[in-house]
């Protein structure tokens, strides 16, 4: 297989190539997006000119024509000046209309390769090859508007090159050990279908995905305006009539509020389900050599590749709806990009809606150990007391101090609140378990749903043992484990367990030469 990489570049490879002309549509979308994001606020003076002018229609249409011409011509020019070529193990890209940019991307530096297909490319059977390197912010190395087979060809070349490097290094440094793998690794390509998902599965994923609650947070400003919105649709008299019809002032009011909350909830669920279908329609997860590939999408098809060695941790998680449906989602966590929110969301590789057995099957494919017999330990029961007193009661007490000073003693009745939370905290304590094998760690948490994170010990970046004075007296400790994909905590574990974990983790990462990335 070394022949192929050293082969003299054919004439086809050495010529600069253009993207398909349809690519200008991609650039149009991109330019419009940038225009809306950046240029629109600075157009305010123009709007003022427009509003003050006598002939508004004429000026407005002139401005519109101007903007559209600008956008269209800019995207055409961007298409025209974009050229690329493949030479040996590099992609060369020339782009830029006024500011020329020459980019050389070495195959070895590429981290992720995804193939996306927006709907407007579908009739032409064109795709976007998204090439991500460690330093790229995205978009710079995209080949938008090349044919599907071509994109796949380039991707395979890159993947082949990357596996070759590994093999070459092996051969160069270790001729004594002849391993059967290096003869099969790069040449034999076996696509192993791991998972598909039916529409039913996707609906279940939409329901059991916690992204819905993130959406809820975004909607919060809308709730503040809910009165205005209701006012807009119903007059005061109509509203009163509805309240009356539902059975009087208080009960009617409550019913309306409950109905509103329920409908918002249902709406969010609907959005979540639709989003899930949009993103995961025709879902196919395959494993080729060392690379996991996900292909899905209703309108825009996405193909995402993930090298197995890049997985930092695997989380099995479900919320109460998922729990009830008997489904969970598998999240393959990759290294996060230094706290960048946008990127961390992209770094999650989600395998939606799986039954417990399916998850276990996939984990077995990815990790060598068996986790069914793993022995897990509970954390200490004092966790409940600490959560009730410090996390729940203390803030309430602090807030109440000013009221109590002014002799509003009724505020102290709120101190009972933590007591009411007791069953929830106790449930959380009961679900908090941890365990490890020689190679892997496992941390399980959850209230009503559950989350179970599995990670190879050698991928740990750092661990910390901390003990408060109270914990020290009881021989308890809190262990915090930092992975490149995020941190995890095991609170209130026996201190000897914490030290065992600490020692084993450091022994593992210091002796295991496998790269964590």
């Amino acid at each position: 297989m070394t022949n192929e990489s050293n082969a003299t570049p054919t004439t086809e490879q050495t010529q600069w190539k253009r993207l398909s002309p349809v690519a200008s549509v991609y650039y149009l979308f991109k330019t419009v997006k940038a225009f809306i994001g950046q240029a629109v606020p600075s157009l305010a003076p123009l709007v003022i000119v427009l509003l003050n002018s006598d002939d508004k229609a004429l000026i407005a249409s002139l401005a519109a024509v101007g903007v559209v011409t600008l956008l269209v011509s800019s995207s055409l020019l961007q298409y025209w000046f974009f050229q690329y070529q493949l030479v040996d193990n590099e992609i060369k890209i020339n782009q830029g209309v006024f500011k020329k940019q020459h980019r050389v991307i070495n195959f070895d530096r590429i981290q992720n390769i995804n193939i996306n297909q927006p709907i407007y490319f579908r009739p032409f059977e064109l795709v976007i090859l998204v090439i991500e390197t460690a330093g790229s912010k995205g978009g710079e190395g995209d080949l938008a508007g090349i044919s599907q087979p071509m994109a796949e060809d380039i991707r395979d070349k890159i993947l082949l090159r990357q596996s070759q490097i590994k093999v070459e290094q092996d051969e160069a440094n270790n001729q004594t050990l002849d391993d059967p793998i290096d003869t099969t690794l790069a040449t034999e390509k076996t696509d192993q279908l791991i998972s598909t998902a039916s529409t039913g599965d996707l609906i279940r994923y939409g329901l059991s995905n916690n992204g819905m609650y993130i959406l809820l947070a975004f909607m919060a400003p809308v709730f503040n305006k809910s009165e205005d919105i209701i006012d807009y649709f119903f007059s005061k008299a109509e509203l009163n009539a509805i309240v009356e019809a539902l059975g009087g002032k208080l009960i009617g009011g409550i019913i309306i509020v409950v109905a509103l909350i329920l409908s918002v909830f249902l709406l969010l669920m609907l959005i979540s389900v639709l989003g899930s279908i949009l993103k995961f329609h025709n879902y196919r997860l395959t494993l080729t050599d060392e690379t996991l590939k996900r292909k899905s999408g209703l309108i825009n098809t996405q193909e995402e590749s993930l090298n197995l060695s890049k997985i930092q941790a695997i989380a099995r998680q479900n919320n109460f709806i998922g729990h009830w449906l008997g489904r969970e989602n598998l999240v393959l966590r990759q290294a996060g990009g230094g706290g960048n929110k946008q990127q961390t969301r992209n770094n999650l590789f989600i395998v939606p809606a799986r039954t417990a057995e399916q998850s276990e099957q996939l984990i077995k494919t990815l990790y060598t150990d068996h986790f069914d017999q793993i022995e897990t330990h509970p954390i200490n029961k004092r966790y409940i007391l600490k959560t009730l007193l410090l996390t729940l009661l203390l803030p309430v007490v602090l807030i109440s101090i000013p009221f109590v000073i002014q002799q509003h003693f009724w505020v102290m009745s709120f101190y009972l609140l933590p007591l009411l939370c007791y069953p929830l905290v106790a449930k959380r304590w009961r679900n908090y378990r941890y365990g490890k094998t020689g190679e892997y760690g496992l941390i399980r948490t959850g209230f009503i749903g559950h989350k179970q994170v599995l990670f190879p010990l050698f991928k740990v970046q750092r661990a910390t043992i901390s003990q408060s004075i109270v914990q020290k007296r009881r021989n308890l400790a809190t262990l915090t484990i930092y992975l490149a994909s995020g941190k995890m905590r095991i609170p209130y574990m026996p201190v000897e367990h914490a030290r065992q974990w600490f020692d084993q983790i450091y022994a593992k990462i210091e002796t295991d030469a496998r790269p964590w990335f």
């Binding site: 290094q169 910390t464 901390s466 030290r499 030469a513």
Partner: protein, 190 residues
């Protein structure tokens, strides 16, 4: 070249953190730490002590001065003793640091996980020839481990030692990669 070995390790053979002998920070650093706390506190505390009683009712000024005095004293005690209980230890493959008066925290950074090391010093530290070492790994967006109060020469020596170790490991890694690189695929294929 090197033949791959993978000898089994029993739990007792693993080096234990509980048996590590930590060394304390330089005793002089306790006073340096206290004086830098003094500078940081004096900036907001003195104007506060002057202005606050004027804004609020005069009969409260005594309480306010008292409260400020208590906070300042506590911070002095705290900064002195927190420097006193901070300890570090160098091992063959990692550096450990223990700190905390009320919450004792032990953390370690393995040399082969280090992304980069910073050597910094604040104004007070600089005056008394102390430095802080900051270690960064991929496991967090900020500093993973900060060891303050190291005599400047020690800090530079430790950093040079760790960096040379990392470079040596990296050089070794390429040869070790051969054994490891082959192990990785089998590992996942199972």
């Amino acid at each position: 070249m090197t033949i791959f070995t993978n000898t089994q390790i029993t739990v007792d053979d693993i080096p234990a953190v509980s048996s590590v002998e930590f060394s304390e920070l330089h005793p002089k650093y306790r006073w340096v730490n206290l004086s830098s706390t003094f500078i940081w506190l004096a900036v907001p505390a003195i104007p506060l002590a002057v202005v606050l009683p004027k804004i609020l009712k005069s009969q409260w000024s005594l309480y306010i001065w008292f409260a400020i005095a208590v906070i300042v004293c506590l911070s002095f005690v705290f900064s002195y003793y927190s420097a006193k209980v901070s300890r570090y230890a160098l091992r063959e493959h990692d550096i450990l640091f223990q700190q905390g008066l009320f919450w004792q925290k032990t953390t370690a950074v393995a040399f082969n996980r280090i992304q980069h090391i910073d050597l910094t010093h604040g104004p007070m530290e600089r005056k008394y020839q102390f430095s802080s070492l900051k270690f960064f790994t991929a496991g967090g967006s900020s500093v993973d481990l900060k060891i303050p109060g190291l005599p400047k020469d020690d800090a530079e020596q430790i950093r040079a030692m760790i960096l040379s170790k990392i470079n040596k490991d990296a050089a070794q890694d390429t040869s070790e990669d051969s054994s490891q690189g082959q192990e990785a695929p089998t590992h996942h294929d199972e």
